[in-house]
Symmetry: C2
Subunit: 716 residues, 2 copies
Amino acid sequence: MANVTENGWEQLWLRYDKKVDAGNGKYFEAAPQLVGFDPENCVVRSALLELSRGVCGMLGMQMKAGDIAKAVAGADQASNGTAAAGADQAGNSATGASAAGEQGKTSGSQAGLVLKKVPEGTLTESGKALKAQGYALCENDGRLEITAADENGLLYGIFHLLRVISCEKSLSGSNVTCNPDNPLRMFNHWDNMDGSIERGYSGRSFFFENDDIVINERTKDYARLMASIGINGVVINNVNVKQAATWLITDRFFEKVVQLSKIFAEYGIKFFLSLNYAATIELGGIDSADPFDERVIAWWKAKMQECFAKIPNLGGFLVKADSEGRPGPFTYGRTQADGANMLADAVAPYGGIIIWRCFVYNCRQDWRDRKTDRARAGYDNFIGMDGDYRENVILQIKNGPMDFQIREPISPLLGGLKKTNQMLEVQVAQEYTGHQIDVCYLIPMFKEVLDFHTYCKPGADTVADVISGRTMGNKNTGIAAVINTGNDVNWTGNYLAAANLYGFGRLAFNTELSAEEILDEWIPMQFSTDAEVLRVVKGILLPSRATYEKYTSPLGIGWMVTPHDHYGCSVDGYEYDRWGTYHRADHLGMGVDRTDAGTGYAQQYNEPNASMYNSLETCPEELLLFFHHVPYAHVLKSGKTLIQHIYDSHFEGYKEAEAFAAAWDGLQGKVEERVFDNVKERFGRQLYNAREWRDQVNSYFYRKSGIEDEKGREIY
Amino acid sequence: MANVTENGWEQLWLRYDKKVDAGNGKYFEAAPQLVGFDPENCVVRSALLELSRGVCGMLGMQMKAGDIAKAVAGADQASNGTAAAGADQAGNSATGASAAGEQGKTSGSQAGLVLKKVPEGTLTESGKALKAQGYALCENDGRLEITAADENGLLYGIFHLLRVISCEKSLSGSNVTCNPDNPLRMFNHWDNMDGSIERGYSGRSFFFENDDIVINERTKDYARLMASIGINGVVINNVNVKQAATWLITDRFFEKVVQLSKIFAEYGIKFFLSLNYAATIELGGIDSADPFDERVIAWWKAKMQECFAKIPNLGGFLVKADSEGRPGPFTYGRTQADGANMLADAVAPYGGIIIWRCFVYNCRQDWRDRKTDRARAGYDNFIGMDGDYRENVILQIKNGPMDFQIREPISPLLGGLKKTNQMLEVQVAQEYTGHQIDVCYLIPMFKEVLDFHTYCKPGADTVADVISGRTMGNKNTGIAAVINTGNDVNWTGNYLAAANLYGFGRLAFNTELSAEEILDEWIPMQFSTDAEVLRVVKGILLPSRATYEKYTSPLGIGWMVTPHDHYGCSVDGYEYDRWGTYHRADHLGMGVDRTDAGTGYAQQYNEPNASMYNSLETCPEELLLFFHHVPYAHVLKSGKTLIQHIYDSHFEGYKEAEAFAAAWDGLQGKVEERVFDNVKERFGRQLYNAREWRDQVNSYFYRKSGIEDEKGREIY
């Protein structure tokens, strides 16, 4: 079980250690046939090398699998005009190289693995039409066929096949067609060029150090991990683009940027950069960043021509403007659309896209002011320009109107915008959800977001519909996550946090997957196929988000965290601050009135959501304090008062965390020692944290309300 | 008014700009006579050069004053065996050089300035006995005489004379004898070798940058400023000794340390370093810092021999052990006395002293625990070893038991210890008192501390008595301040904060000076002799501490500050934390019960203080919440309830701050523009801060208590 490589980092779910064969070996006795795919294509080569690596590791079939690599390498050499495939290969019956020469042939009846390119739209064995980047996997009588319309599809099909082997399931009788639900499936890195990571809890950046770009074997392993879960886009630098990062689009860094982007190209991943909106000033020597200024327009046109010419795999740019101190079009009296469109026009000739974040709000509020509502800001700043954006602009919208709290309503922009490309942004990095110390499996939360009915269009109104393009028939849409990786040996700080990394990618590809199905794949791949491990780890992860919610801030009010750091409890930490994040608790009650009698935020939703949230009776209770100021004595549907609910849920949450830790202890010897130790150590810290949250929240509200716990438990 | 030098920093109260003569010029028409003082002594030379500089600048008497410098320079050259005094000097009647040859002569009747060395204990004109470092200044019939028993006394006498000139007062008829009240009068720098300053609010360190020592003209100006107010010891590095600073006592830094210490020697200032108690481990390669370990003892003996041999002006060391994560004797099961005595024995052969901080407490408390009381810790940790310390150990005790809050009781160790050398530590750096943004003249607070009756000995029981040596007849005693300087042009961030720097030194020398007398000296010296400037600046500074107290935490409870940073309000910021700093507010009342029914802290005082604090009736109200948990409805002596007092004092405090700012505006044109602008800008920030404090504290207690303000003012 050598899953820490010589280089010192884990392979996570691509560990490829020895597995029970489950009858799968037979497909790899002969080398696979390539039909229609060019073995010289870099993505095809990556797919075949991955297949070789996986089959070799998991099934011990070194020879035949090795043939692929050699064949591909041979083809590669041949294409480079150097030596042809070596003589020791010549005797082999079906190398990739020879298969490449057989594209035209029908080879339907042959046993083994066939990798076949077909036109987009082709109906598969299961009767579905193949879409871009989709694949079909079909087994009949010893013949295993992966069909895809493009190289990404092939790559994902190979990873699907390896996943089945890794889970020790049989490939026999396979008949699935998997089309990606979201055209864009991206990770956003908040890595800074000094090597730090904003909201990073897994060590330092593996892309940057000392204001320079780092490229090594880990970069490639990262790309493999991303491709294995269907990710097809990556933004490598922090959306807050400052200092050296501003220079990523200049000759100072082009050479290394190209090298880096090429590694992603080999895994079908488009390369994106975060842009500094003020680059015309900081790089261009122009005294303006006004999107209507001809000098600004000309500078960006020239700069984009240069970028796309030099970086062949460039997909486009991510922009955070007019937010939290970042420059933007508002400075010049222009709209967000004006800014985004100006950049979009500059990248359009090259097929580039501009992803424009909607996280624009006043971060210098006065806590005394009860009219201004940060929750309203995204909608208020963007809804008026719906329909004004270029076709190659995508608005990237955080799942909630605030900032990645453990519980928020869905942003009313999602499905509120009806004529604009939308992309959902979630946070896999556990900024407010436990810093990868506390276990918090986020997929159930992401599922809630995707399944939410926005009522924007009958029959196609969920967030999943909107961001997949199903609602509007648009193609520049998708989903992005702020990633939780760093240069820790295990990539994600807590081994269990890799479930969020893996799960996000899988969910982005297939929004129908359940949170449990994802764990059924990931646990056997990353830890063990032992049934007890599966049972225990699922038993911890599936309820973990609910548990975290119980011991932290109640009923959707959010915050109550240590300022800036965002780990640990501080009930009043943001109460008297400028960030627009308040609980408004006094001796009688708490919560923010966002109804039509309050800030009016609830009215930003399409009906019937607006009315549902507006009413204390119909508002879902898990969001009660987000929408309403409620007395402590208010009786919930459970029959408990609000204050008793706070006490009870906090005692429960801590107990559940204790139970998780105890359950994990039972896995000693069943998972590798370093995995066991890492997670055990984190549980120790989680229990400390959960106890602090429990006692601080309970004590705070007890001291403020003066209402005793009905059960007489210790509150301080 | 050129008080920013060419080098770019202010001269503060040593600006020496042109003054009204007030009949003082006549004393400097002839060069002064040195009687008994060696003009080659470096301190004497500094005194004469300072005299020359001051008389030249303030009275425009360049020629004669210049003679002194030339004479001294000539003497210096002669003593170096190079050229004798130049021929152009030979014709002068009474140069320093010639005076030096006249030590034996009686020159009583001669007009002009006479600087005379006499034996310690000599009775002066005013009938007092001259003490070490004291001086007498006496004028009769045109003859002005400074008498001192040593060079420091001469230096301080010269600065006294310059102070009189600077204030445009007449020297005629002077007859004062000034002996320092405290043997040691020190500044402690919390400067780190990377150039940062712990709790520094005036820029970066001027001693260190990039892990190296900086020596330049500013170093000398700093020494001059210190000497001018009677400071005779300085600790240049942070008490938290880490990384490079550990190496200050090694060859890596000795050369520069010696250069630096020499500059202080020229101004009669003993040079001290903060020590890393774990140096035996970090430098010595010994696996222990146990004070009973023979290897440890031997290492320190050798190291101290080396240090004192190489650094002639070394006075000793300051040590923070077993505190806030620093190593110490507790690690080895030894007492604080064991640790201090071991080091004291190592420095004793060289006349060195060990200053040992008493800031030892558990900084990992549980906020749920109401028995453990940080306030008790200093006394509990040190009182049992009273009498066990070597004669060359001094315990340095913070003024209060907590940590430099705007209002604390006096530490019960002061006067609690009856057989141990004691040194008072105060903080001129405004860590908890406004960061040199808010104006807060601290001398009234320091006066309260010095005047406090500890009841340790009839007739000599004030803190001033204890630390001066009057109580116990000991000589290793004194006062130290954490300094507020940095490399800002004006040294102290806010120009008005220089009042604390100046005032501390003057008060350390003469504890009888009033807060107002100090301002009567400082304002004319640093700003202007204009009566309106004096009136307005005094009107701001004298009540400023009371004002700051009003708008921050009430009645001695302290804290309620932004964690770590310690500027700005956060009522619950430290309430649920590990630092032992709580207000224990609930919906009924607030305050910490430190009576015999509570933590028992009040019992640490000598009677009758213990009983006074223990009783709600006799406890001084400004400390009410420090000692008692009190209902909001409790009626104070003013007739107001506690809650109404909180509301009223916060509204008052803000109004007073507004009045300060308005008064300052009236000085436009009366003080230099950069002074005016600097202080005006700070007042802008102070008003913002005061308003936040007012509204946050009032809103917090209103929301918690539910009790309305009687006056119906706006609370949020």
